[in-house]
């Protein structure tokens, strides 16, 4: 019986440009890597109900691109895309990150896995090109109704291909 790790993600803001999230899984690193990077797996966990994932393509090689799209209950579509900068199965990928709702924001995501004693630690970091980018996640920027803004901030973190 493995421990219940639900709710155990650790979220840190190490500096003005980064958000770093760590979480452990009781699974081999190679399986975790596949679940995070293979579209047939990502489609199984990618959308936050009642949203639906309408597109999930991942060309997992340096220079390859990924794209994922979602539709919400009220028909709103949002999507993420980027290009892989580093691909080192089964431990690491680095990719650019673009979110259709924040066209001016540039970020680089790093996904790093480490296995020890049958536990895989997943470290997911988002490094924004400038502080204004990260501040989208950490403040209301006044561009939208505040509830919409919260939704956007959350969605940015719910990008499945980034995980």
């Amino acid at each position: 019986m493995t421990p219940d790790r639900h709710g155990s993600a650790v979220i840190t803001f190490p500096n003005d440009l980064e958000v770093v999230i760590t979480r452990q899984f009781d699974a081999p690193m190679a399986l975790v890597f596949d679940v995070l990077t293979q579209p047939e797996h990502v489609r199984r966990w990618g959308a936050t109900p009642p949203d639906e994932m309408t597109e999930c393509t991942i060309d997992l090689r340096v220079g390859g691109t990924y794209r994922s799209s979602f539709v919400t209950g009220d028909g709103t579509v949002f999507s993420f895309h980027g290009t892989y900068l580093e691909v080192e199965p089964p431990t690491r990928t680095v990719q650019t990150w673009h979110f259709n709702c924040w066209p001016d924001v540039e970020a680089v995501e790093t996904m790093q896995l480490h296995e020890a004693d049958t536990v895989t630690t997943f470290t997911w970091s988002m490094a924004f090109a400038d502080q204004a980018g990260r501040d989208h996640m950490t403040r209301f920027d006044g561009q939208q109704d505040s509830l919409d803004t919260i939704e956007d901030m959350l969605r940015s973190l719910l990008d499945p291909t980034s995980a």
Partner: protein, 116 residues
């Protein structure tokens, strides 16, 4: 669509400014005069006063007079909306990672993922 809250009434905007966060950090230690704050930060007195005004307007600092001095203190309870937001944010991240966890357990427990 709701009207956007004015900057001065929005705790999130108030703390979006690094200088204002610096002032809040200083006030964690206790009440301070404007002069004492100016000594501890690399800002002029007019700048500090301007930031204190914004922080006062959203209720993050309160001010009282003592003799000829005005003393500012932190009112941390006004940070509750921020705390609520962080909690929501944390919950959403956890929900996503928990879904990955459940899916991994399912893959390993069943030896296949044939359910729908």
């Amino acid at each position: 669509m709701m009207a956007r809250a004015a900057t001065t009434s929005d705790v999130f905007n108030a703390v979006a400014d690094a200088h204002r966060r610096q002032i809040l950090d200083l006030l964690i230690a206790g009440e301070k005069t404007v002069g004492a704050i100016v000594e501890d930060v690399s800002m002029s007195q007019p700048q500090v006063s301007k930031h204190l005004r914004v922080l006062s307007e959203v209720g993050l600092v309160t001010c009282r007079a003592e003799g000829r001095h005005r003393l500012y203190r932190l009112a941390p309870e006004q940070l509750r909306p921020l705390h609520a937001w962080v909690t929501t944010y944390e919950q959403a991240i956890n929900d996503r990672l928990d879904r990955i966890d459940d899916y991994l357990q399912q893959l390993q427990g069943q030896g296949d993922d044939s359910d729908t």
